[in-house]
């Protein structure tokens, strides 16, 4: 039986009988098998042996070779699919990495993992495109805001400049160009902020600039300076400074207040005239009353006297009276503007005594005016009308704050402000000061109002009642004497204005030695105002005292009961809801009669048999007072 079959290589095998396979033909078949295996090993899986033989073992070998070829072919195909998939995804990732977001991986691979990798790359790409779109949108928004801000900064009617840490000017707006006469080109990146400052205020500005970069709270946000323009002209300006977040740069807005200063001068003048008007009106009224009597009786005398010689004298009296009457009318004449140089040495003690007599009739019967003067005479070089304007404004304000009546206390004392005070009040120079204070027991004011009271035209009074210029005039006047004003106010309790006027000759009598203020005693501070309480507590702690705090009388009694042997002194607010300061003192002293209790008040109070502390005095003064109480001097 002939089974001649052509193999894929074209060789021909004859296998007519069983025995022939042991001869030459078997060797040919084995040779063929080796050739096919070799080609398969090189990756050519097209090789197959398409021969049927009778010998079982031989046929099994041929079948195995063919199966091996198929198996290897499958493996090679899988390998190639994987390789092509990797190559393709590799290329897509490369293009994405280069920013070509049109690249997209195919998701049609028969191999699941390659297909999933393609899907993952595409999702990643889509997410990326989303992010980029969002970033682009944000960028567009930022550019818009930046452009808007640039336009606002450029066109705003206030001069703006941005300075670097070394004072180099980075940006100026159009208004700055108008204010200084320099162009943007001349200034930006080329000039320093200090180039625009008048020499007499340069040190102060440089110091603020440095302090602000240490901590913004070390320098005031707003202050007055003098700007030097391109022509060398000096302009008064009000500057507001803020640090730009995350940088050492600051932004300054400058308002030219040269004109405003002139207006302030005018306002001051008109206020002075107003005060003089009140004074002269009062004097004229009093004089006229007196003169009515003098002239009336002189007239009667003139009629009754027959002796011509005596009549002459009477007529002289009448004439003199008429002249005095005319003079009283001239008191209503306008006051002329005078320079500050025309000052006189005024005894403030005497002045306040006289002035309080005069002002009593103005403030009304419901209000009690008290004077708190030192024993020693305090002399101060000042224009008396300025003093009158200050007092008139403060006292009338105090009166208006007490529609139901109350108490106005006029106080005078001298104090030395040391370097420590300057850290918290950078614009105040250390030295001797005369302190003139006006306290009332009126409605008080909140923090927001307190911040604005010196602003021109700011008023809390009903329309037509206040011009809003009173306190700004006071402020301006005090500033003219290089003084400053401290305002302490508590809602519902009252307000204290303290005018600090610098003494020309330095004294150190009132200087308080910081070391002498320290102590280790335990204090209990009772105040319903958390700010005041915490402020006092932190201050006492800083000076070594142990402090307990209570927000009301009940809490204070509770703390005191627990620590009655430890607490040396209780500082209790005078006016508190539920339990008053006096009641708290009574309860504390019923527990321990030897415990010292001082009553604190926002205004100067004089309570018989009670130790009192005025909260509006400086922290050093409070400490001094506490030290005095603890050392049993009071």
């Amino acid at each position: 039986m002939s089974q001649g079959i052509v193999c894929t290589e074209g060789c021909f095998i004859k296998c007519k009988n069983f025995f022939c396979e042991h001869g030459q033909k078997l060797s040919e078949l084995l040779h063929l098998c080796s050739n096919v295996i070799e080609k398969i090993s090189k990756g050519d899986t097209r090789q197959k042996i398409d021969i049927k033989v009778e010998r079982y073992s031989l046929q099994r070998l041929i079948d195995s070779i063919n199966r091996l070829s198929r198996e290897i072919e499958d493996l090679i195909n899988l390998n190639h699919e994987l390789a092509i998939g990797i190559c393709e995804h590799f290329d897509v990732l490369r293009r994405l990495q280069e920013g070509d977001f049109s690249a997209k991986a195919s998701e049609d691979s028969p191999i699941e993992i390659v297909k999933m990798l393609g899907e993952l790359i595409n999702k990643l790409r889509d997410r990326f495109i989303d992010y980029i779109d969002k970033i682009k949108e944000q960028h567009r928004e930022m550019v818009k805001i930046y452009e808007q801000e640039r336009v606002i900064l450029s066109s705003i009617g206030v001069a703006i400049l941005i300075t670097e840490e070394d004072m180099t000017v980075e940006f100026v707006n159009e208004e700055f160009e108008r204010l200084t006469g320099y162009t943007k080109k001349e200034v930006e990146g080329k000039m320093k902020w200090s180039d625009f400052i008048s020499e007499d205020v340069l040190d102060k500005v440089v110091e603020y600039h440095k302090l602000r970069r240490i901590s913004p709270s070390l320098a005031p946000n707003q202050f007055e300076i003098k700007i030097k323009d391109k022509s060398g002209n000096i302009k008064d300006a009000l500057i507001t400074v803020a640090m730009i977040p995350y940088t050492k740069k600051s932004i300054k807005s400058i308002i030219d207040i040269t004109e405003r200063k002139k207006i302030q001068e005018q306002l001051l003048h008109s206020q002075k005239m107003e005060a003089l008007g009140v004074l002269s009106g009062r004097i004229a009224h009093e004089y006229k009353n007196i003169l009515t009597g003098v002239l009336g009786f002189a007239s009667i005398l003139n009629n009754k006297i027959q002796d011509e010689n005596l009549k002459k004298y009477v007529q002289r009296i009448v004439e003199a009276g008429e002249r005095a009457k005319e003079l009283s009318n001239t008191l209503l004449a306008f006051s002329r503007k005078e320079e500050i140089s025309v000052t006189t040495k005024v005894s403030l003690n005497k002045f306040l005594v006289h002035y309080s007599d005069f002002i009593k009739s103005i403030i009304g019967k419901d209000i009690e005016l008290k004077l708190n003067l030192p024993e020693t005479e305090v002399l101060y070089e000042i224009e008396p009308t300025h003093l009158e304007v200050i007092l008139l404004n403060l006292i009338t304000n105090a009166r208006d704050a007490m529609p139901e009546g109350g108490e106005v206390i006029l106080s005078l004392n001298e104090i030395y402000l040391n370097m420590d005070y300057q850290y918290t009040h950078p614009l105040v120079k250390p030295g001797d000061y005369v302190v003139l204070s006006v306290s009332d027991t009126g409605v008080g004011m909140d923090e927001e109002t307190k911040q604005r009271i010196f602003e021109p035209f700011f008023t809390t009074k009903p329309k037509g009642k206040g011009t809003g210029l009173g306190l700004s005039t006071v402020y301006g006047l005090v500033k003219r004497y290089n003084g400053h004003i401290h305002v302490y106010s508590e809602l519902g309790k009252g307000t204290t204005f303290k005018i600090y006027l610098p003494q020309k000759i330095k004294k150190s009598i009132n200087s308080i030695d910081k070391e002498k203020l320290k102590g280790s005693e335990t204090l209990l501070i009772v105040d319903d105002d958390a700010h005041v309480r915490q402020y006092l507590a932190s201050f006492f702690k800083e000076y070594g005292y142990q402090v307990y705090e209570a927000e009301n009388g009940e809490k204070a009694v509770e703390i005191f009961k627990e620590n009655k042997d430890k607490i040396n002194l209780c500082l209790v607010d005078f006016v508190m809801p539920k339990m008053s300061g006096i009641e708290v003192k009574k309860v504390i002293n019923s527990i321990n009669p030897n415990t010292k209790v001082a009553i604190m008040s926002g205004n100067p109070v004089n309570l018989k048999d009670f130790i009192t502390i005025e909260k509006s005095i400086s922290p050093e003064e409070i400490l001094f007072k506490v030290r005095t109480i603890l050392d049993e001097k009071e």
Partner: protein
Amino acid sequence: MADRLLDYSGLKCPYPILKLSAQYPQFKEGEIVEVIADCPTFEKDIKAWCQKLGKTIINIERREEKIKVTIRI
């Protein structure tokens, strides 16, 4: 005249196509690249690669066991 000649003779598939993919980022667009290999399945691989990446096969030349494929990048 080709801009680049890559000889992958002696390398078994799919190494030649993986090597080509790895070298491809250095190629410039429009370059003519000649690739020589002697693996019998390389022709199938490079055809699939060109199709997937959108490259053009300019010429395929077979000499004995070796194959030279010219492509435009």
